[in-house]
Subunit: 154 residues, 2 copies
DNA sequence: CTGATATCAGTTGTACTGATATAT
DNA sequence: CATATATCAGTACAACTGATATCA
């Protein structure tokens, strides 16, 4: 009586239709694909957002990068240590504002980013495999609205 | 050239349109709403799925409950300790299969579930606030397809 | 024997806090 | 002075592993 009797839904209970739960499961799976996939080439989850943000918006201080990549300033330190250790980014003191470091993408970093870009793209395809192209766009659209609405509070 | 020039998207870069990232942010926010909201009435995140699964499908062994509520068997033990300690569920040995405990929802647990149900519903509303009713349904539909496709591997 | 069950101890990773030193 | 930055130490929790004892 509360639902149409000819609905093709196999699990019509409240638990499995709970948006926060569905989001959690889907996100967990996406995260696993990315984390494990990147680990296979010796990269960690946060490497990609940091490298990509550097390429998209250019060199930045760590505080700026932290906002762009949406990674905590304290955690960013460790990620940059790894990336700088592998020569993918350079950390140089900012002479204009001596509190800051300027983080720059190196040529090696650009090549690494190209590699990760291909992988990341494949993972998205795997994650969204059961959806049509139109559905993928719609999902991204809806999620973008959600994320934008809740803004900085992630 | 790759995108329509009059698209209203404010952030057209690859990073902010990445499905796995969007899912992660949205899920994190939903999780926070639920976790903090439940904490306000002394409940923890996993209490709701366990109580709801018990009501939806009836009494079950812990292993069964673990599958239904999608919570790890080892973590379920602690959750059941809490729920049983508050008298919301009963843990009784199964006389038919003496490896098992049978977990039953008490009347007190049913009332608790009613309370949490109302709260959870409000959190979903808050989470999906910027979406129309049709968009909410569509989002749930798309996520359900994703979760179903990736199945047990969460 | 195998396999499932309930439990516990412990690991890893993530999001986050608090404090510190330094500079604007 | 307040504010911003980079760094480090540490917390809380979630997902998960491995081992154990018990039983079918």
């Amino acid at each position: 009586m509360t639902d149409s009797p000819d609905s093709p839904r196999p699990t019509p209970d409240r638990l499995s239709a709970l948006p926060s739960r569905l989001l959690g499961f889907a996100a967990l799976h996406g995260d696993r694909l990315v984390t494990e996939g990147l680990a296979a080439v010796g990269a960690r989850k946060w490497h990609y957002p940091v490298l990509a943000a550097l390429q998209e918006y250019g060199p930045a201080s760590q505080a700026e990068l932290s906002r762009r990549a949406r990674i905590y300033r304290s955690d960013l330190v460790a990620v940059l240590n790894e990336l700088a250790g592998d020569g993918y980014v350079e950390r140089t003191p900012d002479r204009a504002d001596r509190r800051r470091n300027v983080i720059t993408l190196t040529d090696r970093g650009r090549r690494r980013l190209d590699q990760l870009d291909g992988l990341i793209d494949a993972f998205q395809g795997e994650l969204l495999a059961p959806l049509t192209a139109g559905e993928r766009d719609e999902l991204v659209r809806l999620l973008t609205v959600l994320v934008a609405h809740h803004g900085e509070r992630m």
